[in-house]
C-alpha cells in the first residue's frame, strides 16, 4: 500500500513535471561524478572544489543582485530591459569616481580622479581595509546615481511608451543600452582600468580537507556580506511597506498585474528606484571584487543576468538571487568538466534549456520575497 502510493506519487511527478525529474537526474549524475573525481587520486582536490563553489557563490551573488532589478522591471513594466547591463556599468563608474575622489583627494589631480584616469592604483591604495569610508561613499553614490539615471531614462524614454508592446520597449532599451555604453566610452575612455590596490587587499586562507586551502579575498567577502545585507534590506522594504506589498503582488502574480492594468506611476517609480539602486550597487561591488572595470563589463554580464532572472522566474526577487547563485556555481563548477573558455557557453546553455522546458523559471509557483 505504502509502496504503491509512493509509486503512484512518483509516477504523477514524472508525468506532470518531467523536467524536474530530468534536472534532478542530471544534477545527481554530476554530483556523483564530482564525488568520483574527488576520490580518484590526482583528480579534483577538495580545495579546488571549494574554490569553484566559493567563486561561484561570489559571481552568483553579484549577478543575482543585479538581476533583482531586471526581474522587477521585467515583471512590472513587462519588458526585457536590454539596458540593464549598462545601468550596472554606469553605477560602477559613478561610484568609483567618488571612491577615488575620497581616497585620493589632495594627493592627485581632482579631474584625473573624477574621471578615473591614469593613477597608480598602488599609490592610491583603495581597498576595503585601507579606505573603507571611500568605498562606502562610492557604494552609496553608485546606487544613488543609477537611481537618478534610471528615473531620468524612464522619464525620457519609457514613459512616453507606457502603453506600447513589450517588444517596442525592448527595442528602445537596446537603443538606451548603446547610447549609455558609448557615452561612458567617450567620457571615461576605452581602457580597462585597475581600481583597487591588490597588495593591500587581505586574503584569508581557510583550510579545507586534504591539505588544501580555500583563499577568500577580502573584497569577495565584502561583496558577499553587502549583497546579503542589501537583499535583506530589499526584503524588509518589500515586506513592511504598503507600496512594497503592492509591488510584490504585482511582480509575483501576473494575473493580478493584468487585472490591475498598467501599474501606477508610483509603483513604476519605486520599481526603478529599487531596480536601479541594486544595479548600481552591484556594478560597484563587481568592480570592487574584480579590482578592474571597463565601459562594457555590464553589457557582457547582461546575458548572464538574464540567465539568472529567467532561471529564478521573472518577477521573483529571491528567484533572481537563487538563479544568480545557480548560474554562478554552474559556470564555475562546469570547469570540472569543460575548458574555461566554454564556461559562459555552459551558463547560456543552462538558461536556454530552462527557457525551453520551464519558461516560468525553476522557482515558479513558489511565492517568494
Amino acid at each position: 500500500m505504502g509502496i504503491s502510493e509512493t509509486y503512484s506519487r512518483g509516477r504523477n511527478l514524472a508525468v506532470s513535471r518531467p523536467f524536474v525529474l530530468v534536472a534532478v537526474a542530471v544534477v545527481a549524475i554530476l554530483t556523483l561524478d564530482i564525488g568520483r573525481r574527488l576520490a580518484a587520486p590526482g583528480g579534483l582536490t577538495s580545495a579546488q572544489l571549494a574554490t569553484f563553489l566559493w567563486e561561484g557563490l561570489v559571481v552568483g551573488l553579484s549577478i543575482g543582485l543585479a538581476g533583482v532589478g531586471l526581474s522587477m522591471t521585467y515583471s512590472i513594466l513587462n519588458f526585457a530591459n536590454f539596458g540593464h547591463g549598462d545601468y550596472v556599468t554606469s553605477g560602477a563608474f559613478a561610484g568609483w569616481a567618488v571612491t577615488w575622489l575620497f581616497a585620493g583627494a589632495g594627493q592627485f589631480d581632482l579631474a584625473t580622479l573624477l574621471f578615473i584616469g591614469s593613477v597608480s592604483t598602488r599609490d592610491l591604495g583603495v581597498s576595503m581595509l585601507e579606505t573603507p569610508l571611500a568605498i562606502l561613499a562610492g557604494l552609496i553614490v553608485a546606487a544613488a546615481a543609477t537611481i537618478g539615471l534610471s528615473l531620468l531614462i524612464d522619464r525620457l524614454v519609457y514613459k512616453p511608451m507606457r502603453d506600447d508592446e513589450g517588444i517596442s520597449l525592448l527595442i528602445a532599451s537596446i537603443g538606451v543600452a548603446l547610447a549609455l555604453r558609448y557615452t561612458i566610452f567617450i567620457v571615461f575612455g576605452q581602457r580597462t582600468r585597475g581600481l583597487t590596490d591588490a597588495q593591500s587587499v587581505p586574503e584569508f586562507a581557510i583550510p579545507v580537507g586534504g591539505g588544501g586551502t580555500l583563499d577568500v579575498g577580502g573584497h569577495e567577502l565584502t561583496l558577499v556580506v553587502i549583497a546579503a545585507a542589501l537583499m535583506l534590506g530589499v526584503h524588509l522594504l518589500l515586506q513592511t511597506t504598503k507600496l512594497g506589498k503592492a509591488m510584490r503582488a504585482m511582480a509575483d502574480n501576473e494575473d493580478l498585474a493584468q487585472v490591475t492594468g498598467i501599474p501606477t506611476e508610483r509603483v513604476v517609480r519605486f520599481t526603478w528606484i529599487i531596480g536601479g539602486g541594486l544595479a548600481g550597487a552591484s556594478g560597484f561591488l563587481i568592480a570592487l571584487e574584480r579590482g578592474a572595470m571597463n565601459f562594457q563589463f555590464g553589457w557582457i554580464l547582461l546575458l548572464m543576468i538574464f540567465a539568472a532572472v529567467i532561471l529564478g522566474g521573472i518577477g521573483s526577487i529571491y528567484g533572481a538571487m537563487f538563479g544568480g547563485v545557480t548560474i554562478g556555481i554552474a559556470q564555475n563548477l562546469s570547469l570540472v568538466w569543460i575548458p574555461s573558455e566554454f564556461s559562459t557557453v555552459a551558463a547560456f546553455g543552462v538558461m536556454i534549456v530552462v527557457l525551453l522546458f520551464k519558461p516560468d523559471g525553476l522557482f515558479s509557483g513558489v511565492t517568494t520575497a
Binding site: 519588458f79 526585457a80 579631474a111 584625473t112 573624477l114 574621471f115 584616469g117 524614454v157 512616453p160 511608451m161 506600447d164 513589450g166 517588444i167 517596442s168 520597449l169 525592448l170 527595442i171 528602445a172 537596446i174 537603443g175 538606451v176 543600452a177 548603446l178 547610447a179 549609455l180 555604453r181 558609448y182 557615452t183 566610452f185 567617450i186 567620457v187 571615461f188 575612455g189 546575458l303 538574464f306 540567465a307 529567467i310 575548458p339 573558455e341 566554454f342 559562459t344 557557453v345 547560456f348 546553455g349 538558461m351 536556454i352 527557457l355 525551453l356 519558461p359
Partner: protein, 589 residues
C-alpha cells in the same frame, strides 16, 4: 540636407565662390553679409521656379551655366594652382554650389523640398532612387571638400554601396522574420557566422600557409551552398523548440545562441581538429582565411596579390587608369585673344577600385535576387499565412493552417539568407574572425530595418542604404571633412582634457575630441535613433505597408462580371507600389 551641406561647404570655401557670400543667405550667420540688392533677383528666380516645368528647369540650368562662367572667370585663370586643378569634380562642384545656392536662396529650400515631396509620394522605387541619389550627392560633396580625385570619389561610393548592399541583404532577410512572420530574432550575427565559417571551412584552401588553418578545398559553390544550408539548419535547431516561446524569451534564446556560436568559434578547442584524417578548424580567435573572391578572377589571373591582369583587366585597367579628357588644351585662347586655362577632365580610376566596384555590382545583383525572392514569398499563399499568423495566429490555426510549419520554414529560409548575406559580406574580405560576429552587428541590422520599416521589402533596402550612408560611412567622412577645414591643434587624449578648455571658452578641443571618437558617437547616434523611432515612428519610413499578400492582383476577375451590386470601393488601394507590381509580373510569367 544635401543642399544645406553644399551651401555650407560653398561658403566656408569662400574665396573660390564669391556667389556664396554675395547670395547673402540670411540663415547662414558666419559670412552671410546680406546684400539687399539681391532680393528682387531672388524673388524673380523663385517666381520662375514656382511656375515649375520647363521654366524652372531652364532657369536652373541657366544659373548653373552662369555659375560655371563665374567660376571660369574668377578661379579659372588660376586653375593650375588649385589642388585638383581642372578636375571634373571641381568644375561640377562650383556649378552645383552656385545652382543650389540660387535654388535655395531663402531657407528652407522650399522648391527643392516640394519637388522631393512630390517624388517621394510617387512610388517606393522612387524613394529608393531618391535616397541613393542623395547618398551619391553627399559623398560627391564630401569628395570635393576633401579634394579627392575622381578615383577617390568612386572608391568612397564603392565602399558606401558595399555596405548599402550587404545591409540591404541582411535587412531583407530579417524582414522576413520580423516583418512577415513576427519572429523576433536578435541572433543574426550567429547565423551569419555559421554561414561564413562553414563556407570557409568547406572551400578554404587545403594549403593556406602557416598563418591559417586548412580548409577542405571544395569548389566555392559547394562551400556557399553548404554555408547557407548550415545556417538554415542551425535556424531549424533553434526554431523547433523555441518558436513556441514568447517573443521576448525567443529573443533572449537567439542572442544567447549567437554568443554560444561566437564563443565556440573563438575557442581553442575547435581551432584546429582532425576528422577522418582531414585536418581543418575554425582558426580560433585569430580567424580564418576565406577562399578567394571569384570576382577578382574576372580581372586577375589568380588570387595572389601581385597577379597579372586577366583579359578583362588587361582591357579595362589601362583604359580607365588613363581616362583623362582634355577639354581645353594648354595654350588655347578665346578668339585668339583671351588666353584660356588648360582644362582636363580627370576620370582616372585605379584597378583596385574597379575590382571593388565590380564586386558591388555583384552584390547589387544579389540584393535584387533577395528582393525578388522575398517579394514572391510575401505575395503568395505562403506569405498570406505568415501575415495571418502575425495578425492572429489563432485564426490561422482555426482555418487549418499548421502555423508552426509556416513559422519554421520562414525562419529557416531567413536564416539561410542571413548565412548567404554573411558569406557575401565577410567572404569578400579574404579573412574573418569571431570578432566580426558580435551581437552589435545584429543590432545594426535591426536599426536599419526599423529605419526602413518592418514589413516592407523596399523599406528594407532603403533602410540598408540610409544606415550605410548616414550612420555607418557618413560620420567618418564628416570627420575627415571637418578636420580638413578646421585647424584643431592637438587632440586631447581624455574627456576632462577636452572639456577643461570650455571654461576658457575654447570649443575646439572638445570638438576635436568628439571627432576623434566619431565611431563611439556613431553608436550613441544609433541608440538615439532607435529610441526616437520606437517612440515616434515605430513603423519606420515605409513600414506597415498594406501590400496584398497574393500571387495575383486581388481585383474582380474577368474585368467585372459583377452585376453592379458591388462596386469595389477602391478607397484604400495601395497597390501603386513597385514591389507588388514586380511580383505580379513575375507571377504572370
Amino acid at each position: 540636407m544635401s543642399s544645406a551641406d553644399a551651401d555650407a561647404d560653398g561658403s566656408s570655401d569662400a574665396t573660390a565662390a564669391p556667389g556664396g557670400a554675395t547670395a547673402g543667405d540670411p540663415g547662414d550667420g558666419d559670412n552671410g553679409r546680406y546684400v539687399s540688392g539681391w532680393t528682387p533677383y531672388r524673388e524673380w528666380f523663385r517666381d520662375r521656379w514656382a511656375q515649375g516645368g520647363a521654366a524652372a528647369w531652364g532657369t536652373a540650368l541657366a544659373h548653373l551655366l552662369v555659375g560655371a562662367l563665374l567660376f571660369a572667370l574668377v578661379a579659372g585663370f588660376d586653375l593650375g594652382s588649385l589642388p585638383i586643378g581642372g578636375s571634373l569634380i571641381w568644375f561640377l562642384y562650383l556649378s552645383l554650389t552656385v545652382g543650389v545656392l540660387y535654388v535655395a536662396t531663402a531657407p528652407p529650400a522650399e522648391p527643392y523640398v516640394a519637388w522631393l515631396d512630390e517624388r517621394w509620394m510617387e512610388s517606393d522605387v522612387d524613394k529608393l532612387l531618391i535616397v541613393l541619389g542623395h547618398v551619391v550627392l553627399v559623398f560627391f560633396v564630401f569628395a570635393v571638400a576633401l579634394g579627392l580625385p575622381f578615383n577617390g570619389l568612386v572608391g568612397a561610393l564603392a565602399s558606401v554601396f558595399f555596405f548599402t548592399a550587404v545591409y540591404a541583404m541582411m535587412v531583407l532577410a530579417l524582414n522576413l522574420h520580423w516583418g512577415y512572420a513576427g519572429i523576433f530574432n536578435i541572433g543574426i550575427a550567429g547565423f551569419m557566422a555559421v554561414g561564413v565559417y562553414v563556407m570557409a571551412i568547406l572551400s578554404g584552401s587545403t594549403d593556406p600557409g602557416p598563418a591559417s588553418v586548412p580548409g577542405l578545398g571544395l569548389p566555392l559553390p559547394i562551400g556557399i551552398l553548404g554555408g547557407v544550408v548550415a545556417a538554415a539548419l542551425v535556424g531549424l535547431v533553434a526554431a523547433l523548440p523555441a518558436l513556441r516561446l514568447r517573443a521576448d524569451y525567443f529573443a533572449i534564446v537567439t542572442v544567447a545562441l549567437s554568443e554560444i556560436i561566437r564563443i565556440t568559434l573563438k575557442s581553442t578547442a575547435l581551432q584546429e581538429f582532425t576528422i577522418a584524417g582531414i585536418t581543418t578548424g575554425t582558426g580560433g580567435a585569430t580567424g580564418i582565411t576565406m577562399p578567394g573572391n571569384p570576382v577578382r578572377l574576372l580581372f586577375y589571373q589568380s588570387f595572389d596579390a601581385g597577379a597579372e591582369p586577366a583579359l578583362l583587366g588587361s582591357v579595362l585597367f589601362p583604359l580607365l587608369e588613363g581616362l583623362r579628357v582634355t577639354l581645353i588644351p594648354p595654350g588655347s585662347s578665346w578668339l585668339g585673344i583671351v588666353p584660356l586655362p588648360a582644362f582636363t577632365l580627370d576620370l582616372a580610376v585605379e584597378p583596385a577600385v574597379i575590382a571593388n566596384l565590380a564586386y558591388v555590382l555583384v552584390l547589387a545583383a544579389f540584393v535584387a535576387l533577395f528582393y525578388v525572392l522575398l517579394v514572391r514569398t510575401g505575395n503568395s499563399p505562403f506569405g498570406r499565412v505568415l501575415k495571418a499568423i502575425r495578425e492572429d495566429e489563432v485564426v490561422a490555426k482555426s482555418l487549418g493552417k499548421d502555423t508552426n510549419r509556416f513559422k519554421i520554414v520562414a525562419f529557416m529560409f531567413g536564416c539561410g539568407l542571413m548565412g548567404l548575406g554573411g558569406i557575401l559580406w565577410q567572404g569578400s574580405q579574404g579573412f574573418t574572425n569571431p570578432g566580426a560576429f558580435r551581437p552589435i552587428i545584429t543590432f545594426y541590422i535591426w536599426v536599419a530595418l526599423i529605419i526602413g520599416g518592418a514589413g516592407s521589402n523596399t523599406g528594407s533596402v532603403l533602410g540598408g542604404a540610409l544606415f550605410a550612408g548616414a550612420i555607418w560611412e557618413g560620420p567618418v567622412y564628416v570627420r575627415r571633412v571637418v578636420t580638413n577645414f578646421v585647424e584643431f591643434g592637438d587632440t586631447p587624449g581624455t574627456f576632462p582634457a577636452a572639456v577643461a578648455p570650455l571654461i576658457e571658452g575654447k570649443v575646439l578641443p572638445l570638438l576635436s575630441f568628439l571627432l576623434a571618437n566619431v565611431s563611439a558617437l556613431r553608436f550613441i547616434l544609433v541608440g538615439v535613433i532607435l529610441v526616437t523611432l520606437m517612440q515616434r515612428r515605430p513603423e519606420g519610413l515605409l513600414g506597415h505597408r498594406k501590400e496584398e499578400a497574393a500571387a495575383i492582383p486581388l481585383t474582380r476577375p474577368g474585368g467585372g462580371d459583377g452585376d453592379g451590386i458591388g462596386e469595389p470601393t477602391a478607397a484604400a488601394d495601395p497597390v501603386a507600389d513597385g514591389g507588388r507590381d514586380d511580383a505580379a509580373d513575375g507571377g504572370a510569367r
